[in-house]
Symmetry: C2
Subunit: 373 residues, 2 copies
Amino acid sequence: MMHQVRFVETIRGFLPSAAAIAALLLAAGAANANPLVLRAQGSFFVGGQTIHTDAVSGDAAGPAGGLAGTGNSDDISVNQMYVQYEEPEGTGNHVPVVMLHGCCLSGKTWETTPDGRMGWKEYFVRKHYPVYIPDQVSRARSGFDATTINKVRLGELPASALPDIFTLGHHAAWLVFRFGPAFGTPFSNEQFPIAAADEFGKQVIPDLNAMLPAANPTYANLSGLAIRLKGAVLMGHSESGFFPEQAALVNPTDIRGMISIEGQCPTDLTSEQIDTLAAIPTLVVFGDHLSDVPATAPLWDAIFAGCQQFVQQVKDAGGDITMLHLPDVGIYGNSHMLMQDKNNLQVADLLIKWIRRHVEDLPRGHGQLHTRH
Amino acid sequence: MMHQVRFVETIRGFLPSAAAIAALLLAAGAANANPLVLRAQGSFFVGGQTIHTDAVSGDAAGPAGGLAGTGNSDDISVNQMYVQYEEPEGTGNHVPVVMLHGCCLSGKTWETTPDGRMGWKEYFVRKHYPVYIPDQVSRARSGFDATTINKVRLGELPASALPDIFTLGHHAAWLVFRFGPAFGTPFSNEQFPIAAADEFGKQVIPDLNAMLPAANPTYANLSGLAIRLKGAVLMGHSESGFFPEQAALVNPTDIRGMISIEGQCPTDLTSEQIDTLAAIPTLVVFGDHLSDVPATAPLWDAIFAGCQQFVQQVKDAGGDITMLHLPDVGIYGNSHMLMQDKNNLQVADLLIKWIRRHVEDLPRGHGQLHTRH
């Protein structure tokens, strides 16, 4: 603990200076100068069902005016989840880590940061962890079921049947993601690379989760992914912050740890459900400035309070659960997008230390965050 | 080699466990002998503009019922193109290759095949080529502008304003992509791994290109990508088969070669446009069975005839252009998805040989395909 705090203070002392930025760039360059050696890489789908639809397209004649002569009825795949992965050489016994993005975002979340630095995907691989990056069901490369939209176009359903497609614009993202107290104004110690806010805006894509069933298929797919990997740490962020726990409530098999970053914790779990979750080591993570953006402070204060309550519930049930509120360990200025913040690798190190201690090495029941090698 | 985990999982179902363990060890040993060594990897966006919309969501109160207090008006990013890349150690002077997917598909096209084999992305990297994989504008991780759909939901636009969202169902894909003469029936020499047709179906996602302007922003973004890379071979497939040429018509700078796979060639170019294209080495590729699926033979015959005409036009203008119809070089049974066919690496070798001869090494004007190392 002492060692960790000293390390953090040293880094913080450097961060505002130009020399520190140069040092960080040098460090990033040095990291990139070391080749990345992969044992395996690729992509696959988890889950998915075949359904029949009579609106494959929004044209009554069928796709592209009847290209295939099959009309507008056909079978399509729905609810599949795209997963891209990299496995480093020399993983030792490290557990695979699944990183799931949040609202209006995609697997891009974990890749190169908006200002061009290394993201958590590559960093965890360089730390010898196999990394699996899904796109949520109904997002990005996982696709979505366009039947309802097509049927509205064809006049077979009313406009009110359309899903509420949810995008965060640049102003809303600034306030919800806590880049600063007002749009265009960063916090003085802001860790998000706000000079690259426009680049971040390009990552924000439409969220069609509103058209999914109440039991979001991503939950079962995450559970299926953990089983396929014969053990994994599931990490969720924001909208998906609690998806690892939802996956465990579908089937806890092979979910070896859960990391819930800046998500909304549940308040209505049964004691049986709490017991299921308490059997899996859990880390809950929050950044800084939760109460400091006037427009979204009520939202974040409520989410944080809900998670404190959840953590206590799991602790009371004997679970190994840790609340990591970064300012409490001397790390300040982190936004909601802490995997892209300027100190993202420092935060990643804390998560890796937690995985080593709570998932990989030691008996369960240690609820504190320690520095360990 | 790189997909040994999935391969082993597949064969384990058919072998006694001792043999499976032996196979696992063998595969692991082989993989260790052949790691993938990357100099760099990551992702970024090309292009994109910021626009104002008053329908960020389909809820008049704004995203998630007014989460950020910014109402339903905001700025959003549109027309950006997501690009993921891998650069191998030891590229020599090899030119970067950009691989752009077709209709209803995403960058997944070039990754692990539906039956778990190595795709062209990894194969080209292993052959020392930097590889760049975009998602088309309005597709997958590039996102799309949901304003029109949201405005229809809000009653501000009629249902007829909705885009014709185009998905190929399983039957249509079988016929258009030439997996066999009728759904469920493969050609006897079919190269597509039809046992994994269901897995392929999961790659097929909604295509929203109908909502893009006539000058598809992907054209300019591809041109911008070639300039950013200071030289690239642009490869397009199917819907995007002619996108490399469209990019060159926007700006030919740094487009060092064009590979158009199974796309629709233009028939209405000016002589000035033909001259622009004729200055860039071009390879046009088609698989087998163009006339052998009754439902789609007229489509493919017309596309092939149009491309033969295009190739002749460019040749007449002095261009270095090659028509590679695989059966003409003794390679039979290839589907439309030849980058996923069972002989996909054999086909890739032909493309790499063409790049070496026509783009990287020799003076232009050699219109024939040669084997060369």
